[in-house]
């Protein structure tokens, strides 16, 4: 079965981004597919390459590893990024910045959409 995931919150303020990451891992570990993960609203802060939580899981690094291991499609919403000061230069490898249309495509091409938010 093919999943897409929508993330609406930044790391380190609310648990949503952590939950989304763990859900994504579990989907892949069970042998299912992820069509894409769309980072929207404060979710775009997940892509920040300078985040560095001392002595804890770095959610940015975890996302990038997950993306690279499984060649996933990670999209940070371009509008939400522009509002919040996220851009290509600040983004971790594996994240692309593109429009909400990508979320529409993910929904079209998935069996399930699961949203994690505030």
């Amino acid at each position: 079965m093919r999943f897409s995931i929508l993330v609406l919150e930044s790391p380190y303020q609310r648990q949503a981004a952590d939950s989304a990451y763990r859900f994504a891992r579990a989907v892949l570990e069970k042998g299912h597919q992820i069509r894409g993960i769309f980072f929207y609203m404060n979710g775009v802060h997940n892509a920040n390459k300078y985040q560095k939580p001392p002595g804890e899981r770095n959610l940015g690094t975890l996302w990038t590893q997950l993306q690279q291991e499984h060649n996933l499609d990670f999209v940070a919403c371009i509008a939400a990024s522009t509002w919040r000061g996220m851009n290509e230069d600040l983004a971790l490898p594996g994240f692309r910045i593109a429009g909400l249309g990508q979320l529409a495509l993910m929904i079209q091409e998935s069996d399930r959409l699961v949203t994690f938010g505030g």
Partner: protein, 123 residues
């Protein structure tokens, strides 16, 4: 693509506008996704009914008015609007207080609506 083949997506608005930006971002989602081959609906539930009340004026907050865009949504291929009856009543609101006239549904109808949709997007 025929309407029957289009995937049904329901945006559920449950947050009041302005205190959070969920309603604003849900609206952006509706405006964009209508351009894709999706059969879009939107349901106003709990404080989400406040998203479409009349007379909103956030000029002093210097943010965009949210409600005024909803009447234009049919031009963006969003044609199905629902509001939870109990949510209106709890807030002392009637359809006259709203900028659009969604179909008024009860809780059982809302649950049935969820069943009909391939994806439910919460805002």
């Amino acid at each position: 693509m025929s309407a029957e083949a289009m995937k049904k997506v329901l945006v559920v608005m449950r947050h009041a506008p302005y205190g959070t930006f969920y309603a604003f971002e849900g609206l952006q989602t509706l405006l964009i996704m209508g351009a894709y081959e999706l059969d879009l609906g939107v349901a106003f539930v709990d404080d989400g009914v406040y998203v479409i009340t009349r007379n909103q004026n956030p000029k002093a907050l210097q943010v965009k008015q949210v409600a005024q865009t909803f009447p234009a949504l049919p031009d963006f291929e969003v044609h199905r609007f629902y509001v939870l009856e109990d949510s209106l009543k709890e807030r002392g609101l009637t359809l006259d207080d709203l900028v659009i006239q969604p179909q008024v549904i009860d809780r059982a109808a809302l649950a049935a609506l969820f069943e009909e949709h391939a994806a439910v997007l919460p805002f």
